[in-house]
Symmetry: C2
Subunit: 345 residues, 2 copies
C-alpha cells in the first residue's frame, strides 16, 4: 500500500494555489485569508498530510532533536531522569533521541559522533563510569551544540551541569547514623574521579569531622558499587578484629548496601541492631526489602526537567556560552528501618 505521502506541493496543485500559500496556512501565518486557510486545512486533513520535519529542519537549520546519553537505562534513577527529560522536552517541542554508553568510554565517544551527525540541537549526558578524560566532548563544544551534564560529571571540569548536593546528602545520612549512637561508621566509596562519589565521600568525612569522630582508613572501602562489591566490602569489614569492626555502614549506592545486608543476614547478624546500614539512590527495592533500607532520593524527575531547562536557556543565549552554570538540587534523605536503633513502637 504505502500511499505516497502528500506534500505541500501536492496540496497546492490540487487547490490551485501556490506552495507558499499552503505553507502559510499550515503554519498559522497571519497573512492569509480565513477562507483559503480553511480550504487548505481541510484538504490537508483529508489527505492525511504530515509535515516533513527533515525538510523543515534542513531549511530552518533546526532538527528539534535533543540527544540524551546515559550509562544505562536500568535502575530507578536513570529511568526517572529519562521520564523527566522526555516530559519536559516534549512540552518544549523536542524529540528525544536516546543512547546508552553501557558504562564504556568507547561507546560514549561513538555515541557523541552519532548524536552530532543526527543534528541534535543539544546533548544531555551523564558520564560513563570509565570516563576519565574529556576530549570527545570538546568536539561538541566546537560544533556549538549546547551540552548539559547531569548527575555524573568529571571532577575538576568547568561544565554546565545539574547535580544534586551529594555532599550534603551524605553528611545528613552520616549525621543521622551518629545521632543513632554509632561511632565506627564505615563507607563504601565509589570511583573518585566521578563527582558524585567524591562528594559523597567528602560529606561522609565532613560529618565525622564535625562530630569529632576519627577517620579510619580501614573503614573506607573503595569499589565499583555493585551488589558483589558490597558483599566483598562487608566480608572485609567482618574480618577485622572485633574491636575495630564498624557499627554502621554508609554505602554510596543501594546495591552495595544490599550486598552488605545479605552478608550480615547470612552471618546471623541483625540490621540495624548489630550493624546499621544506609544506601543511596532510593532504588525501588529499598522500600521492599527487610529491613527497609535508609537511602537518598535524588530527585530524578526534577533533574531531568532542570537539565532540559538549562538546555533551552543555552539555546536562547548562545552568545555568553562562556559562562558556565550549575544547578544544584536538594536531595532528600529517607530514614528507614535499616538505620534506626529503636524503631518506633
Amino acid at each position: 500500500m504505502a500511499a505516497k505521502r502528500a506534500s505541500i506541493a501536492d496540496l497546492a496543485k490540487e487547490l490551485n494555489v501556490s506552495i507558499s500559500t499552503v505553507s502559510r496556512a499550515l503554519n498559522n501565518d497571519p497573512n492569509i485569508s480565513v477562507a483559503t486557510r480553511t480550504r487548505v486545512v481541510a484538504l490537508a486533513q483529508e489527505r492525511h498530510y504530515q509535515p516533513n520535519r527533515l525538510a523543515a529542519g534542513l531549511r530552518k537549520g533546526r532538527s528539534n532533536l535533543l540527544g540524551v546519553m546515559v550509562p544505562h537505562i536500568e535502575g530507578a534513577f536513570f529511568a526517572g531522569v529519562m521520564h523527566g527529560i522526555e516530559t519536559a522536552a516534549t512540552k518544549a517541542g523536542f524529540h528525544v533521541m536516546i543512547c546508552q554508553s553501557n558504562e564504556d568510554v568507547h561507546h560514549e565517544k561513538q555515541n557523541i559522533e552519532t548524536l552530532l551527525n543526527a543534528q541534535v540541537e543539544g546533548i544531555l549526558v551523564s558520564l560513563s563510569r570509565t570516563t576519565h578524560d574529556f576530549k570527545h566532548f570538546e568536539k561538541v563544544r566546537k560544533h556549538g551544540v549546547p551540552l548539559v551534564f547531569f548527575d555524573r560529571i568529571l571532577e575538576g571540569t568547568d561544565v554546565n551541569a545539574v547535580v544534586i548536593d551529594d555532599h550534603q546528602a551524605a553528611y545528613q545520612v552520616v549525621q543521622h547514623l551518629i545521632e543513632q549512637g554509632h561511632r565506627r561508621i564505615a563507607h563504601f566509596a565509589g570511583p573518585q574521579h566521578l563527582n558524585i562519589y567524591k562528594n559523597r565521600r567528602q560529606g561522609y568525612l565532613s560529618a565525622l569531622y564535625t562530630h569529632g569522630l576519627p577517620v579510619e582508613e580501614e573503614l573506607i572501602f573503595t569499589c565499583d558499587m555493585t551488589l558483589d562489591d558490597g558483599v566483598a566490602g562487608m566480608q572485609q569489614f567482618l574480618g577485622l578484629p572485633a574491636a575495630t569492626r564498624p557499627d554502621a555502614v554508609f554505602s554510596a549506592s543501594d546495591f552495595s548496601a544490599l550486598g552488605a545486608m545479605q552478608v550480615l543476614k547470612e552471618q546471623g547478624l541483625r540490621v540495624p541492631l548489630d550493624l546499621a546500614l544506609a544506601g543511596f539512590s532510593n532504588e525501588l527495592f529499598t522500600s521492599y526489602i527487610e529491613p527497609s533500607l535508609t537511602s537518598v532520593d535524588q530527585r530524578c524527575e526534577q533533574m531531568g526537567q532542570s537539565a532540559v531547562d538549562m538546555f533551552l536557556d543555552m539555546l536562547e543565549v548562545r552568545t555568553d556560552a562562556r559562562r558556565t552554570r550549575r544547578i544544584v538540587l536538594q536531595p532528600k534523605v529517607l530514614i528507614r528501618d535499616s538505620s534506626v536503633r529503636h524503631p518506633a513502637a
Copy 2:
C-alpha cells in the same frame, strides 16, 4: 563560538574539487582516486566535518529514525526492552526516538502524530493500558510505516507483534503451585482487553482444568495490577470464610503480589507456609525481598531485539505487508521461596 559547521560545499571549494567528488570520497564510493579521497578525508577531519543527516535523509527519503513508544520507562521490563531495542537499532544504523504514553490513550494518539512527522521509518509500540481501540494506528498503516507491537497488543487484532507465551508461563506457574500441594489457587487478573492479562488468565484456567481443579469465580480478582490493588485483593481473599480462602495466589504482576505479601505479613501469616505467592515480570525486587518471589522472566532484551528484527524485515519486503507475522518468545519461570512448601534444607 559556535563555528559554522563545515559543509560538503565548503570542503569542495577549499580543495578546488566538485561537491560530488567530496561526497563520493566521504561515502566510500569506489569511483574515486585514492589520492583525492585521502585529501578530502584529511580536510574533513581537520574541519571537524559532520555529515548532515537531515539533508541526506531528505534526499534519500530516509531518516534513519526508529520510533519507540512505551507506556512508561520505569520498571525492569520496559527498561530491559529499551536496552535491547537500542542495542539492535544502533547496530542496524538507526537512531532511537523514544516517547511514553503514560498509560494514556490520549498521549498515545498524540505521540503517533509526533513520531510520524518526525519521519521515523518504523514504530515499535507497547500499548497503554487504557487503549481500547485502534484508530490512531490506522494512520500509521496508511503512511506505509512499518508498525511492530511488542508485549502488549490489543486482543483480536491482526498485527505484527512480538510477545511472550503468557499462557504457557501462567500455566507453568500454576502447575508448579499445584505440584506444591495447593488446591485453592487464586488469581490477580489484569485488564482483559490486553492480550497479556487475558492469556495469563487463560493459562491459569487451563492449568486448573488440566489438573481437575474447579474454577471459583470468587478466587479471581480483576484489577489494574498495582501494589495497592494487590493489597485490596488480598484483603478481600482474607475476608472469605476460612474454608473457602485460597492457599495460593498467582498474580499477573509482581507489584500486586508484593502488595499481597505485605498484607499477609501484617496479618502474621507466613509465606509460603500459610499461603504461597507467585508474580510476573521478574522485577528487580523479587529477588531481594523475603521470601524471594517466584516470578516469570519475560525475556525483555530478546523482545527488544526481535522487535527491531521484525521491523528490519518489514523494511525490506514492504510489498507483502498484508501478511502479518508474530514472534512468540518462551518465558522462563523462576521458582523462588515464596511458592516452595519445603525450602531446600
